[in-house]
Structure formats: structure tokens, C-alpha cells
């Protein structure tokens, strides 16, 4: 296992998800991925660093006088208050879609397996920063809920391990309920295959941001969903509704790909409009690759700010 976490050799840094799927123990998987990832990156982009100084601000009546920077007062004869970048311990919750469509996988790994590992990795990563971790699994309603806590890492991993795709899903109802629930500012990671109209997705997701939460959306899709590489004419059955349609893939592929691309483009555009981080993840790609792609985006955004 140690070999997996080494990252000295370029190219071996990213572990094939299929290999990870065989490990089984989510904590081990997460550690393998994250450690390797961190080691390989050399420079840890620990986000939400706890005591980072941000700026000085002029004192206004009502500010706590303990926060006045007395040294600055000595130099400038004015009251300034020191402000910090973030709370050292923020809430981090994974919102994991466990609807039946997530149970699809053209290879060894279903989208749900992939999403579980992704969630585990993120949880592990965040936990190492002493942030509080939580988990919400939902399909058409809320399936599991682990409230954010510094001690809940194991609970979250255990819960992730047990999740299966059982029922048809929807985004709007459970997410709207959840939005009322997240009282404290934090980071929310939504992992889903987002099978809905872009506008409906935005409408479902938008309330999550209302309390000032940071929302990151991972759009998990299988390779087969992206390129529609089916051969024979057959009946396609909807995993969620059970409807069947006769399909001749050769005739469909071009139009399907166009529609899928338009869908992803619309999501990308709309999410950026509402300032939500959106990342499309192909379950065929290595997991830490996805993480890297994401975190580097985050880092870039932070620098911009």
C-alpha cells in the first residue's frame, strides 16, 4: 500500500480509480490518495488557514477593544482592528447524491463508488486541517445525515461505506430542506450527476449559498454517459423510472453528444454566474487528478481574491 502513496515518480502519482475501488477501506483509500496528493504537490494549499492575517480596519464603536492593534496605535495614534482570513475551524459537509442513477457504472466502478471515494478523500483532507466534517446523503429525500463535527470523521467514512443507490432522486426537495439546516457558514460540497434541466439545478442549488456558505459542485459522470459508446441497437431502461426506449446508438450518438455538451456548458455557465465552483469529473479519470484539478482552481481563485 505504501507504494500507492509514494509520488516521487511522475505519472505514478495519480492512482487508477479501479485500483482504489479494490481497496475497500475508505479511510485507507482517502489517506492513500490525499497523502500522495499532498506529497506530490509539495506545497500544501491548506485552505481556510486559521490565523492568517487579512487586513486592518478602522475601529468603530462596538468593536471588541481586545482586538485593537495596540502596536499600530502606538505608531499611528489611531485605533485599528486586526481582521483574520477565516475561522480556523470551519464546517465542511459533503452532500452526496445517492439516487439510483448514481449506481451506474460502465466499468468496474459505479459513479457512486467514485463519489464515495471523492467524498472520503475530501473529508480526510479537511479533517487533517482540523475542520469539522459532516455528511448528507440524499436521493428524493434525505437518506443519511451526519452533522459536522471534529470527531465525526470515522462516522462519516463509515456511513459513506454503507451507502447504496436505492431510490430515484431529485435535487430540489432535499436541497431546499438542507438549505434551511446549514445555519453556520461553512463549506458545502455537492457530489451528484445533476440529471435535471440546468435552470432547475441552479434553482435547487442556489438556496444552499444563502447563508454565505461556500458551495463546490462536483458533477460526476461516467465515461459512457459522456461519449455514448454503445454498439448494438437495444432497449434503454431508465434506472430511476424504469421506462424503456428502443435506441439505435449509431443514430443517436451525435445528437446525444451535442445535447450532453450543451447541458454541461449550460451548467458551467450558470454556475459561474451564481458564483458556485463547478467541476465535471469523469469516473474514468484518476481521483487525485480530480482533486488536484479542483484544488488548483480553488487556489487560483483565492489568490485572485
Amino acid at each position: 500500500m505504501h507504494g500507492l502513496s509514494t509520488s516521487a515518480i511522475p505519472g505514478a502519482r495519480f492512482v487508477d480509480p479501479a485500483v482504489l475501488a479494490r481497496i475497500g477501506n475508505l479511510e485507507l483509500v482517502a489517506r492513500s490518495v490525499v497523502d500522495g496528493f499532498i506529497n506530490g504537490l509539495h506545497r500544501a494549499p491548506y485552505f481556510g488557514a486559521s490565523v492568517d492575517f487579512a487586513e486592518h480596519r478602522g475601529y468603530v464603536a462596538g468593536d471588541d477593544i481586545r482586538r485593537i492593534d495596540w502596536r499600530l496605535f502606538a505608531r499611528t495614534d489611531r485605533f485599528y482592528v486586526k481582521e483574520y482570513e477565516a475561522d480556523s475551524n470551519s464546517n465542511f459537509s459533503v452532500l452526496l447524491d445517492v439516487s439510483k442513477s448514481m449506481g451506474y457504472g460502465s466499468g468496474e466502478m459505479t459513479k457512486l463508488d467514485y463519489a464515495k471515494i471523492l467524498a472520503a478523500c475530501l473529508t480526510y483532507l479537511v479533517h487533517r486541517q482540523r475542520d469539522r466534517v459532516g455528511l448528507v446523503a440524499f436521493d428524493e429525500g434525505i437518506v443519511e445525515h451526519v452533522p459536522p463535527s471534529a470527531k465525526h470523521m470515522n462516522v462519516v467514512l463509515h456511513m459513506l461505506d454503507r451507502l447504496t443507490a436505492m431510490r430515484p432522486g431529485s435535487l430540489r426537495a432535499p436541497l431546499h430542506r438542507l438549505a434551511e439546516h446549514f445555519g453556520r457558514r461553512g463549506i458545502l460540497v455537492l457530489i451528484s450527476d445533476l440529471y435535471d434541466e440546468p435552470e432547475a439545478v441552479i434553482e435547487a442549488v442556489a438556496p444552499l449559498r444563502f447563508r454565505g456558505n461556500d458551495l463546490i459542485v462536483f458533477h460526476v459522470l461516467d465515461r459512457a454517459e459522456l461519449d455514448f459508446g454503445f454498439g448494438d441497437a437495444s432497449s434503454f431502461e431508465d434506472l430511476e423510472t424504469g421506462d424503456q426506449l428502443p435506441v439505435v446508438p449509431e443514430a443517436f450518438r451525435k445528437q446525444y453528444n451535442e445535447l450532453m455538451r450543451a447541458h454541461i456548458d449550460a451548467l458551467t455557465r450558470r454556475f459561474s454566474e451564481v458564483r458556485v465552483d463547478y467541476t465535471l469529473i469523469d469516473t474514468g479519470a484518476p481521483l487525485d487528478h480530480a482533486l488536484f484539478k479542483y484544488l488548483s482552481t480553488r487556489e487560483r481563485l483565492m489568490r485572485v481574491r
Partner: protein, 683 residues
């Protein structure tokens, strides 16, 4: 259409082969599970659909080709009805059945029926022959199998609705017999009627000959009808200060679908309207009114209930005849030294009863005068020691037509040769007071005395116990009939005829000394039946129904010669009832028939005749039902060609040539299939 080689039709099973292959191929297609059909649904569907439709067309074409091939090999041929018509064209034998029942008098139904009959006559060809049959409860052939149209038209023009009720079966039987006697090739019956449901009681064996056709012509069927009819009256007699009064309760029935308000019922006696009352009648409902009682003053009072006229007038009158009721005089004779209660049960039983009323007189055996015997219709000897003179007087009484009932107790004797009058010889008493009491068994239920007790739970004679009875030995010379026996086999009731009268001997007592029969429920009806039977009492019905038969000689003594009697019908026709006229009189008209002597009307009898009220129910049945029952198949025109006319070989060949067309069609379809599949495989 039939087939020369129907076994080839088994090849149609081959049609299943392409279908099964198609189904199997469909089965083999695996189902691919996909997360969401969201995008697939948006792809225009026709690109797939078109291919499938092409496949279906191909499938149908191939199925059609196969079916045509199979049909061609099965060699179909037509048994052409038009060919039969050509062969059987020409002369027709037509029977026109016209419903003459009184319901045809409803509204304009009779005119329409006559118009339909005239039309049928006008439709006859020059060589056709036709008969006209008018039917109601029976069928009457007015004109038989003629080609003279004038006679047919005249018969139609002169006919009028009768007073009878509809019955289809006799008419169809007559039509069947006329058609089966005919030699003409085409045979047809035309049934012109209002198709009343009440006239149809199944085909009753009426069947037209094979190949005959029945054309129903429904007059006014399925139109809304409105008809009020009377219903039979009920007469309640009461006796008041020796005057007999009767209260008439009359009913009215609404056979229509609308309620009738203020229907007036009038009671007429003779020619005088006595009383009117008004009632409301709901649709398909009935109502009744009771008129005030009136005195029956004379014989043969003619009563009629009238309703206001409506579309069908025949059923708006109900006739009945009232006469003072004649009581049956019964003379009960007791032993000279009998106690007062000896005939108690007997007299009490006879005191009850209104139809007929019994007038009972109790006398001692030694106090009977000739006058008593002359007045009495029945003499009941209750355990009487009969002297020789009494025996001979009773013998004469019976021979004159009187009835004699002899109840045997311990004292009963019969002086002289008992078998002169009695049906048996009196024997010694049998004591059954120890051990099991005797019971009555082996009753002759066919006899009028015991006939009412025939059905189960209508009287049980075996419940009565007999502690003693007299041994009776039936006299062979007297032609005695044993009507009942005790369980040991000894006769209990014996009857014989003597002259115009009857004698019945009862082997036990009619009080409680030897049996408990007087305490049983059967006692009273038994005594009543005995008295009625011995008095030869016949009930005169207050009314009869059209179609019933009247025996003019009934109730007359032979001395009253029937030869000089006449019957006067309601339409004032005279019918002589002598040997030249009919022996029985069938009531054909509605109203009062009068039967009397040629010269005087001294002992005239009046009979009220009413129409059958079931006819006033105008609900109809489906004409097809009658046709199906009479012809054997529903609504089919005349069937096959007349038998024994062979087709020419050319005609035979022509009728079988269909296989050739079928085969050509199959080839064309197969060609189309080839073209289509070629094109499909190219695309």
C-alpha cells in the same frame, strides 16, 4: 363460403412462424440500463421509428402472402345466394298473417296493419299465390292460396279486430302447414302484428318448413303507448234482512308510462248507471274502488264497469252477471232417541260458508215428511235406524237426483235389502279403543270429495283417530267405489250412483263418540265437499273470457230439451243450439250472451264475456325472436337453392374459381415483398 380442402387451412398456423421469429428477436435484444433517458428522449424519435414501421409492413406483407397461399390451397367456393335466387325465381307462395287481436284496435294500428297487408298483396307477382290468415288466440284462414288479388283485397277490407288475445304459435303453425303443402319454389310468410310480448309463449312447436322465409312487419312497435284497462271485479255478498246485497270492487290498470289523473269508473247495472268514482293511477300501476252495496233483486242482473274511452277501447269495459245465490238445503236426520248434541259438529260445520250457503234442517227419523225430502238437496243420516218405509222413500229421493250421506254409528241399521240403496252391506262394529286407534289411509284423491286435499300440506286425514267403525262390505251389484279405507283395509267411505243421485256411506260417526275427526282441521272442508258433491252444486262464474267454451247443456236437467234453445250473442245474432248448430258455444265477442228457449225467456241464462285483459299490456318483444324461433335462425332471408336443382359444370367451376384469384394475389404480394425488402436492405 365453404372450402373444398379445408385441411389446408391448418397451414394458417404457419402464420405464427414469422410472428414467433419476430417475438424471439425482440426477446433477444438486451436491455441496457442507463442512468437517465433525459437526453435520449430529446433525440427525435422518427429516426428509429421509421425503421420499425418498415419491418412491420414487411411482416404484414409476408403474413398476407402466406394467408393467401393457404386460402388458395384450401379451395374456397361460394354457395351463392344469388345463384339460388336465379334458380328459385318465379312463383312465390306467400302467407300473410294479420294480427286480429283486440290490441290492434289501439289508435290507428288496425289501419296500418291493413295497409301493410294490402302492400304485401300488391307486391305479389302474376304467378305468385297468397293466403290471408287472421289470427288472435286462434288462426282463421280467410283466403287460402289464391292468385286472385281482388279476393285477397276484399278479405283485408272487410276484416275487423276481434275480441281475442294475441297468440303467435297457432298462426305460425297454420302458415307452416300452408307453406309445406305448397309446390311453389319460394315460400314466404309475412307476419303483420304489434308484437305484443304477452302473446309469445315460445314457439310451441310452430316451425316454418325448411327454406321458408318469415318477414316480420311490426305495427307501432317501440312507440310510447298509453292505455288504461279495467281489471276483474271482486264481488262481496252480504245478507241483510233476508235480502242479498253485493258490493262491487272494480280495478283499473295503467299500462302506459304516464300517470293518469281522475280516471272515472262507472258501475252500470242493466242499462242504468249506478255510481261513478274517480281514481289516480300511477304508470304501470293499478288502483281499485269499491262501490256502495246494492240489492240483488232478480236473476241475471247484468253489471258492467266502464272507463272513459282511450286509444284502446275494448278493455275499458268489464261485464259480469249477478244472480241471487241459491242455498243448498241439507236435511240432517237424527236417531229418534238421540241426545241434543249428536249433530252439533255437523250443523256447526254446515252453518259456515257462503259459496254455497247451506241451509240446515235437523229432524228426527220418525218426523220426516215427504215435503222435507222434496225440498232438500242432501239428506244426512247421522247414525239412524232406518225403517223399511223410510228406506224406500230415501231410495226414491236419491233416484230423483238427491244426495244421501249415511254416517254409521253403533245404532245405524238399514231395514230390508240394504244393497238396493246403499253401496255396501253393513257389518258389525270394530272396537279399536284398545291398542292403536285406526287411521284413514288410501284416499281416492281423484274423487271430487278429496281432490282439494291432494297437494301436500292441504289437509291431513291421517291425523284423525278412529276408535270404532262399522265393517262395510261393498256390494258388487251396486258398482260401489271405495273412496277411502282404514289402515286395516276396511272401507271407510263408499260411494255409489243411484238414478240421478248419489249415496255415500261413511263407516264411522260424525261426533266424538267413535273418532276425533270433527276436531281436525280437515273436518269442515270435508263436510262441505261432501254436501256440494251430493247436491251436484256447480258454481256459476260471474263472467267468462273470450275464447272460453260454454256448454249450453250444463246445469240443465235432461228433461229440459236442448233442442229448442237459442243463444243470443252480444251483437244480437241468433245461434240455434239444436242438433244442426254447434254443440258447444265458443265465446267470440265481448258482452252478454243470452241462452234461452225459442219461445219464452223464462229460464234464460246470461253469460258475461270479457276480453282477455293480458292483451291490454302493449309491451312488445323483438320481432327477431319470433323469426328466429319460427325459422330456426335469426333474421336470415330464405336460405338455400331449392333442393334437387343441380348446378351446371360451368357454374360449379365458376363458384370454385376463387382459388385462382387468391393465388394471383399471393404472387403479387410476394413480388411487393421482394421489392420492399430489397429497398430496405439498400438503405
Amino acid at each position: 363460403m365453404s372450402f373444398l380442402a379445408p385441411f389446408f387451412l391448418l397451414g394458417l398456423a404457419g402464420l405464427a412462424v414469422p410472428v414467433v421469429i419476430h417475438l424471439i428477436q425482440r426477446e433477444r435484444k438486451q436491455v441496457v440500463l442507463f442512468p437517465s433517458l433525459m437526453f435520449i428522449r430529446r433525440v427525435p424519435y422518427q429516426s428509429v421509428r421509421r425503421r420499425r414501421i418498415h419491418n412491420w409492413t414487411l411482416l404484414f406483407i409476408r403474413l398476407a402472402a402466406l394467408a393467401l397461399l393457404v386460402a388458395a390451397f384450401a379451395r374456397p367456393f361460394l354457395s351463392r345466394p344469388d345463384a339460388a335466387a336465379v334458380v328459385g325465381s318465379g312463383a312465390r307462395e306467400v302467407v300473410i298473417l294479420v294480427d286480429q287481436s283486440y290490441s290492434m284496435a289501439y289508435g290507428d294500428h288496425w289501419d296500418r296493419a291493413r295497409a301493410a297487408a294490402r302492400e304485401a298483396v300488391n307486391g305479389l307477382g302474376s304467378s305468385d299465390r297468397a293466403s290471408i290468415v287472421f289470427f288472435s288466440s286462434g288462426a282463421d284462414v280467410a283466403v287460402r292460396s289464391t292468385s286472385e288479388r281482388a279476393r285477397l283485397q276484399a278479405a283485408i277490407a272487410t276484416a275487423e279486430p276481434s275480441a281475442g288475445a294475441t297468440r303467435y304459435a297457432p298462426a305460425l303453425k297454420v302458415a307452416g302447414s300452408i307453406l309445406s303443402e305448397s309446390t311453389l319454389p319460394r315460400r314466404e310468410a309475412i307476419l303483420i302484428t304489434d308484437f305484443q310480448a304477452s302473446g309469445w309463449r315460445g314457439a310451441e312447436g310452430a316451425r316454418l318448413p325448411e327454406g321458408a322465409k318469415l318477414t316480420p312487419v311490426a305495427i307501432g312497435a317501440r312507440e310510447e303507448t298509453q292505455n288504461l284497462s279495467t281489471s276483474p271485479v271482486s264481488l262481496t255478498r252480504t245478507t241483510f234482512e233476508k235480502q242479498e246485497r253485493v258490493a262491487v270492487t272494480a280495478g283499473v290498470m295503467n299500462r302506459g308510462t304516464r300517470p293518469a289523473r281522475g280516471v272515472e269508473l262507472t258501475l252500470n247495472i242493466g242499462d242504468r248507471a249506478l255510481e261513478s268514482q274517480r281514481v289516480d293511477v300511477e304508470p304501470n300501476g293499478s288502483a281499485s274502488v269499491t262501490f256502495a252495496p246494492f240489492t240483488i233483486s232478480s236473476r241475471n242482473m247484468r253489471g258492467t264497469i266502464h272507463l272513459a274511452p282511450d286509444a284502446l277501447e275494448r278493455d275499458n269495459a268489464f261485464h259480469f252477471v249477478l244472480s241471487p245465490s241459491a242455498p243448498v238445503r241439507v236435511l240432517v236426520v237424527e236417531r229418534s232417541g238421540a241426545t241434543g248434541g249428536a249433530s252439533l259438529y255437523l250443523t256447526q260445520a254446515l252453518a259456515i260458508g257462503t259459496s254455497p250457503r247451506f241451509e240446515t234442517q235437523v229432524k228426527r227419523a220418525d218426523g220426516i215428511s215427504d215435503d222435507d225430502l222434496r225440498q232438500a238437496a242432501v239428506v244426512l243420516l247421522n247414525d239412524v235406524t232406518v225403517t223399511e218405509s223410510l228406506a224406500s222413500r230415501l231410495g226414491r229421493f236419491v233416484e230423483r237426483g238427491g244426495g244421501l250421506f249415511v254416517a254409521l254409528g253403533p245404532y245405524a241399521t238399514w231395514a230390508g235389502s240394504s244393497s238396493d240403496v246403499l253401496p255396501g252391506v253393513l257389518g258389525a262394529p270394530v272396537d279399536r279403543s284398545r291398542g292403536d286407534a285406526a287411521r284413514m289411509a288410501a284416499l281416492e284423491y281423484g274423487h271430487p270429495i278429496f281432490e282439494p286435499f291432494r297437494t301436500p300440506r292441504s289437509g291431513n286425514f291421517s291425523a284423525a283417530r278412529f276408535y270404532g267403525y262399522r265393517v262395510l262390505t261393498p256390494a258388487p251389484s251396486a258398482q260401489a267405489q271405495v273412496l277411502a279405507r282404514f289402515d286395516a283395509g276396511a272401507p271407510a267411505v263408499i260411494e255409489r250412483k243411484l238414478g240421478n243421485g248419489r249415496v255415500i256411506v261413511w263407516a264411522s260417526t260424525l261426533d266424538l263418540s267413535w273418532s276425533d275427526l270433527p276436531l281436525k282441521p280437515v273436518f269442515l272442508p270435508f263436510i262441505h265437499r261432501v254436501a256440494r258433491h251430493l247436491a251436484a252444486y256447480t258454481e256459476v262464474p260471474p263472467w267468462m273470457t273470450v275464447g272460453q267454451v260454454l256448454d249450453p247443456s250444463a246445469g240443465l236437467t235432461p228433461s229440459a230439451a236442448i233442442a229448442e234453445r237459442i243463444a243470443l250473442t252480444p251483437s244480437r245474432h241468433r245461434l240455434a243450439l239444436n242438433g244442426e248448430g254447434p254443440e258447444v258455444l265458443e265465446l267470440a265477442e265481448q258482452g252478454f250472451y243470452e241462452i234461452r228457449r225459442q219461445a219464452s225467456d223464462a229460464d234464460a241464462t246470461v253469460v258475461a264475456s270479457n276480453v282477455d285483459l293480458s292483451e291490454s299490456d302493449l309491451t312488445t318483444i323483438d320481432p327477431e325472436e319470433v323469426v328466429a324461433a319460427a325459422v330456426g335462425r335469426a333474421g336470415e332471408a330464405s336460405g338455400q337453392a331449392a333442393p334437387g336443382v343441380p348446378l351446371t359444370p360451368e357454374a360449379q367451376e365458376r363458384s370454385q374459381r376463387i382459388w385462382w384469384y387468391l393465388l394471383s394475389a399471393a404472387i403479387v404480394v410476394l413480388g411487393a415483398d421482394t421489392l420492399l425488402s430489397n429497398r430496405l436492405s439498400k438503405t
